[in-house]
């Protein structure tokens, strides 16, 4: 069967289920169990359907593993292979532990997505109620069609939403708590971890490298908090530390940011001074600070703190901006590590001009005339006043024509003489007017009183629902063509007909109800 092509990750023999011996298979996407000597699975669960696993306590005689599904059902496996049962069970457990979260995320995401869609769209919700809750079609079928339809749309709407930046104080939120016995406890939430990763890509890299091969997650974070990288005011003592590389990377990033210089010439302190005094002139008695050996340890750590704050703020700022720009250009990959998020000085000159102009402008001194207007530049003023015209009908009225026609009309008006003999009688005229005015003979008509006044609202709403539901079913129906898979064929032949039938009967019910109400 199809299962043969699947990758089998683990096979455990002698597993009992419902008092039957059998073999448990863990495959790439599902877990399955088949009874001894038979060729098919009687139990098969997709990982995505599994909510959690439970194991029996260690001391118990029966070594069991229970799977609980999202639907609430559960399946229990009993490992009965004597001596190795415990080992078998643990191996299964470990593997499941690794596999489940992967699928869980996916499942959760889908679930969330569905929920969100139902909440945001009342029509869809109604449809869902009509079709799924009343079991006309299954939920799967309902969504199979919907989700793919909506992912594009959805991803668009999601992008237009503003990305939330990172709180600058996220590190401060991880206040260490003393646990009473000479230790510290840090509380990490996934939000904080994400903030750390987004702000410090190097840490994320380290995490990817080391977890879970070399360290467990817990160990990783413990080391993170112990490292001087986190406590930047402590001077590195040169001990082996996986984060020393991060620090170096940061240093490099900071340096590259500095050497890249600034784009706004108004804040470039380097080019501020026009003519610095030569060495040896001036009263500045500041001794050269480049010599670090004469600096005390404290001074060094102080300047490290300052550097760190600058870097941290720049990174937080960049992390906020990076998200917004990521889809627009792939090149931001390189810039993301140094915290600088924009392109280099290609636009230097115009930018300088703009900044200069900005800084000399006094908008309150300027009159309103200073407002920028765009001059209308017409290549052919003719076309502007006449608009686009199909080429064939070149012949439009010129102003001369218009003047002529006006004079003709004037002329005719002057010569107008009413022919009183052929006029309708006043009686006939007035009756015609009454007949034509609202409420008159000709202006009556049930046409105005449409169905929305005749039918009570609840019936209307019901009809509407029926209509959309039927429409949805028809959509399902038509989407089955061309019928090129057995599944579609099955769907078409089997239950779609059923479904339509159900819909008809519903309509019938509605019809009769309406009739009853009418009579």
């Amino acid at each position: 069967m199809a299962s043969l092509s699947e990758e089998v990750l683990l096979v455990v023999k002698r597993v009992r289920q419902r008092k039957q011996d059998g073999t448990l298979y863990l495959m790439a996407e599902r877990i399955a169990w088949g009874p001894e000597g038979k060729d098919r699975f009687t139990v098969s669960h997709l990982y995505a359907d599994i909510r959690c696993q439970k194991i029996s306590p260690d001391g118990k005689a029966k070594i069991q593993l229970q799977l609980i599904l999202h639907t609430g059902e559960s399946t229990t496996f009993h490992f009965s292979n004597g001596s190795t049962a415990l080992k078998d069970r643990d191996a299964t457990k470990e593997l499941l532990q690794q596999l489940l979260p992967k699928f869980k995320k996916k499942a959760n995401k889908e679930l969330e997505e569905k929920n969100r869609m139902l909440q945001e769209d009342p029509v869809l919700f109604q449809l869902y109620k009509d079709l799924v809750v009343s079991q006309v079609i299954s939920a799967e079928e309902f969504w199979a069609n919907r989700l793919s339809l909506n992912t594009v749309e959805h991803s668009l709407s999601n992008n237009s939403k503003q990305e939330v930046g990172i709180s600058a104080a996220f590190l401060a939120d991880i206040r260490p708590q003393t646990d009473g016995c000479n230790g510290l406890r840090y509380n990490l939430t996934s939000d904080i971890i994400e903030s750390i990763f987004r702000t410090y890509p190097t840490v994320k890299q380290k995490y990817a490298e080391n977890v879970p091969h070399n360290l467990t997650e817990k160990e990783f974070w413990t080391r993170f908090f112990q490292s001087h990288y986190f406590h930047r005011d402590r001077i590195s003592t040169g001990q082996q530390d996986i984060f020393s590389e991060c620090a170096k990377q940061d240093e490099k990033g900071l340096n590259s940011m500095v050497t890249q210089g600034v784009k706004n010439p108004m804040v470039d302190l380097l080019s501020l001074e026009d003519k610095t005094l030569d060495e040896g002139y001036g009263t500045a008695t500041v001794p050269t600070t480049s010599n670090s050996s004469n600096k005390s340890l404290r001074e060094n750590s102080n300047s490290a703190i300052i550097k760190r704050f600058n870097h941290h703020s720049a990174m937080v700022l960049a992390a906020g901006l990076r998200k917004a720009e990521a889809p627009s250009d792939q090149a931001s990959e390189t810039s993301s590590t140094d915290g600088n998020s924009r392109d280099s000085d290609f636009f230097q000159l115009p930018l300088k001009k703009v900044k200069l102009q900005e800084s000399i402008e006094y908008d309150d001194l300027q009159g309103d005339s200073g407002r920028k207007t765009i001059a209308l530049n017409l290549k052919k003023s003719d076309r502007y006043s006449h608009g686009p015209i199909p080429l064939q009908s070149q012949h439009y009225t010129t102003s001369q024509d218009i003047i002529n026609s006006i004079s003709i009309i004037q002329h005719e008006m002057r010569n107008y003489k009413p022919r009183l003999t052929q006029v309708m009688s006043s009686n006939a005229a007035s009756s015609a007017i009454t007949a034509l005015s609202p409420g008159g003979l000709l202006m009556q008509g049930g046409a105005q009183q449409t169905i929305n006044q005749l039918v009570p609202t609840d019936v209307q709403i019901e009809l509407k629902h029926l209509y959309t539901a039927a429409g949805e079913l028809l959509r399902h129906f038509w989407s089955c063509f061309p019928v090129n898979t057995p599944f579609l064929e099955d769907k078409l032949m089997g239950h779609l007909e059923e479904m339509l039938q159900a819909a008809y009967s519903k309509f019938q019910v509605w019809q009769t109800r309406r009739m009853m109400r009418k009579t």
């Binding site: 600058a168 600034v262 804040v267 040896g280 008695t285 300052i306 703020s313 309150d364």
Partner: protein, 759 residues
């Protein structure tokens, strides 16, 4: 529109005008009429530059013979470029109104680094490198060598300029730095030398202070500027320090060692030349006898700006015979060098005045005062004769020669002082500081030569101190306030924390835990209520480092980070630039940020925080200079003896002008608004408060003198809420913004007369 300023037709390129601009122009006109000097204080953001330019350009057009040139000195490169852009706007307006094509030539001049278009040279990063490289391509003997040996590289842009550039005058127009470069590229001429040449006949020159104040540069660049020029020093609140810096010299052992190698190189070169080309040296000898005479003639005929390094009496004499030949001069320098080395070997601090030094040098090594004075001049001549290509290599010996000339020329107001910087505990590293005590020496030639010198800035209070320390007599001194339709600045003096502990950066209590905590709380509270950007200034870099460290330990910074991002000025300019840009980015995108910075630092001097870039400025403490320095003490003594300025007055004046500079950074115009928080109880005292500029003092009510943090927060909230209301032109019109008709009404003119306060 067009204005009538006491009979002068002034074109003003806007539709509206601030009343204080009108008043400012009035005072300026009177100063020019009297052909005297002026000190004018007007708050930044009230259009000082455009007022200055409008009036002076109008004056130049009306009386072309009275005022031939405007020399506009500003401090930083962006400032210079801004001025030129404003000038361009004005000139465009002239052209539009009068229909006559602009016949003015205005240009900006900056160092080679900002003007060079040579592909190799301009790619160098530091100004000094650019200068050195440029010199090695353009020096006259290099070019002479190029004639005989075409493989010798020269700068084709300079060659091109030298060949044709001088004959063809640069067409009238406004040339900013980039325009000059463009023009240079189009013509293939060197923009730097073009600009230097063109300033002689330009109507308006915009450049930095140093081109006029630093004798070493002024001698090269500004020597031939016309006497009938108007000189404007904008942002001049620090002008005394610029003067002093340009006349002071520091000598370390390293300098002396490098000088030693320089001397050796010179010796070798001389002996080599003697063998090959003795005539050259003889020629130089002859020139020295003649040369100074010519200079004297030139000065008498009033062509040159005098050089303070080369005082008048030197010109009347020839270079003394003892150093006239090259070998003798080198020997002389060697002797002088040995003497300095001996002096630097001592192990305690010595302070002595110029005459003492000269006496000592005469007794020890028999060096007379007179040849010392000619040192700088003589060295320059020698370097030229010896065809030394890379001047940058000889900076050490040049420095020594300048020192020699300065020390022997200005016996008054100078001082040396041997200082020990304990770099490592065992090796003493003495430094010889030659400090100029008297800023008036450097600026004297400027006041003496040009008919009108205008000193202006947003913060010059108290006005009377500048004429005293710069030693000149102004004809006008005025301080203008800012007319406001709404009080858009809110100065508050915070004296106490919520725990009533006094907040002050006074030396005794500045490291106090409570003070630091209160400062932190103030910043924290403000970060929660002020939108967008906050700038905080500390009194010194070290103090900031300490406070940041202890705030970090106390977790205050973390709490601040919940509200805003934090950026901190560092001692590295590139790093700070980066932080600044990120700070602006954070203000721009709505996150809000705090910039921690240092008074007297680069940020406080050159960067504006307009609108949302600075909604609040917090000044932590009073930014006094480091008073324990001996040089400062000596200067204070000098000020007391010479100008009768008391030490404390000067120190407070100096501190307050820096504080005002810092807080003034936030307000750049009438549509702008900002909080100014002075976090030190000492600001409340009358002697401090009285030294703030009038436009800040006016808004400092008695109710805002000694606030606690809570009260400050309350007042700030109120202020910010008010300022957030829409502010339209109609609100301003007639009060702080005038149309032409309003300006001409009688009672408005009367009101305007009150804006200027004569000092």
């Amino acid at each position: 529109f067009r204005l009538n300023i006491e009979g002068l037709l002034v074109y003003f390129p806007y539709d509206y005008i601030y009343p204080e601009q009108y008043s400012y122009m009035l005072e300026l006109k009177r100063t020019l009429d009297a052909k005297g000097h002026g000190v004018l204080e007007m708050p930044s953001g009230t259009g000082k530059t455009i007022s200055l330019l409008s009036l002076i350009v109008a004056y130049q057009k009306a009386y072309p013979l009275e005022v031939t040139k405007l020399v506009y000195c500003s401090r930083t490169v962006p400032e210079i470029e801004k001025v030129v852009e404003e000038l361009r706007k004005l000139m465009d307006y002239y052209a539009k109104q009068t229909g006559v094509k602009n016949d003015f030539l205005a240009l900006a001049l900056s160092s080679r680094k900002n003007l060079c278009i040579h592909p190799e040279v301009s790619s160098l990063r530091f100004g000094k490198e650019v200068d050195g490289k440029c010199h090695s391509l353009t020096a006259s003997y290099i070019r002479a060598q190029h004639h005989s040996n075409p493989s010798q590289p020269v700068c084709q842009f300079f060659e091109e300029f030298d060949a044709v550039g001088r004959q063809v005058p640069i067409p009238p127009g406004i040339y900013n730095l980039d325009d000059l470069k463009d023009f240079g590229r189009r013509k293939g001429w060197c923009p730097y030398f073009l600009a230097r040449y063109a300033i002689l006949h330009a109507n308006i020159v915009v450049y930095s202070y140093h081109y006029l104040l630093d004798p070493k540069i002024a001698d090269l660049v500004s020597k031939e500027l016309a006497k009938k020029s108007v000189v404007v020093f904008d942002e001049a609140h620090n002008i005394d320090n610029v003067c002093i810096d340009s006349m002071s010299v520091n000598i370390t052992r390293r300098t002396l060692d490098r000088c030693q190698t320089n001397v050796e190189t010179l010796q070798n070169t001389i002996s080599r030349i003697k063998e090959t080309d003795a005539a050259k040296l003889r020629e130089e000898y002859r020139r020295l006898v003649e040369g100074l005479k010519e200079a004297n003639v030139a000065r008498e005929t009033d062509i040159y700006l005098s050089n303070p390094v080369l005082p008048d009496e030197i010109l009347q004499e020839a270079v003394p015979g003892s150093i006239r030949t090259a070998e003798h001069f080198v020997g002389f320098i060697k002797r002088f060098l040995e003497y300095l080395k001996a002096r630097l070997r001592i192990h305690h601090v010595v302070q002595e005045s110029a005459p003492q030094f000269l006496k000592d040098i005469y007794e020890k090594v028999c060096i007379d005062r007179k040849p010392l004075r000619f040192c700088a001049k003589r060295l320059r001549s020698l370097l030229r004769t010896l065809e030394i290509a890379d001047i940058a290599d000889f900076s050490a010996i040049t420095l020594i020669s300048h020192f020699a000339t300065l020390v022997s020329t200005y016996s008054k107001g100078n001082l040396y002082d041997y200082d020990f910087h304990q770099k490592t505990p065992t090796i003493a590293n003495p430094v010889l500081h030659f400090s100029c005590m008297d800023p008036s020496i450097a600026i004297k030639p400027v006041f003496g030569r040009f008919q009108s010198v205008i000193i202006t800035s947003g913060t010059l209070s108290p006005l009377d101190i500048y004429p005293r320390i710069l030693d000149f007599r102004p004809v006008t001194m005025a301080s203008f306030t800012m007319t406001l339709a709404r009080t858009c600045l809110c100065p508050l003096i915070v004296g106490r924390g919520n725990d009533q502990v006094a907040m002050t950066s006074k030396f005794e209590t500045r490291e106090d835990f409570a003070v630091i905590r209160n400062y932190g709380n103030l910043l924290l509270e403000m970060s929660a209520i002020v939108p967008d950007g906050i700038v905080a200034f500390f009194t010194s870099y070290i103090y900031m480092e300490n406070i940041v460290a202890s705030w970090y330990e106390q977790g205050i910074l973390e709490n601040i980070q919940r509200n805003k991002l934090i950026f901190i000025e560092t001692q590295d300019a590139a790093e700070t630039s980066m932080a600044l840009e990120k700070y602006q980015e954070a203000c721009e995108n709505g996150r809000g940020a705090i910039l921690l910075s240092v008074a007297r630092g680069k940020v406080s001097e050159g960067i504006d925080f307009v609108h949302h870039f600075g909604r609040a400025v917090i000044m932590f403490g009073v930014p006094y200079v480091y008073t324990q320095s001996r040089i400062l003490k000596a200067r204070l003594e000098y000020l007391r003896d010479q100008f009768q300025i008391r030490e404390n007055d000067f120190l407070t004046f100096d501190a307050m002008r820096h504080a005002a500079q810092c807080v003034g950074r936030a307000i750049r115009g009438k549509t702008d608004y900002g909080l100014m928080i002075f976090a030190d109880k000492r600001y409340a005292r009358a002697d401090k408060r009285g030294k703030l500029p009038r436009w800040i003092q006016e808004h400092l009510t008695d109710g805002s003198l000694n606030l606690t943090i809570d009260e400050t927060v309350q007042l700030s909230k109120h202020f910010l809420r008010q300022m957030a209301q829409p502010f339209r032109r109609e609100d301003q019109l007639g009060l702080s913004l005038l149309t032409l008709e309003q300006l001409q009404s009688e009672d408005m003119l009367q009101k305007i007369a009150q804006i200027a306060q004569q000092a």
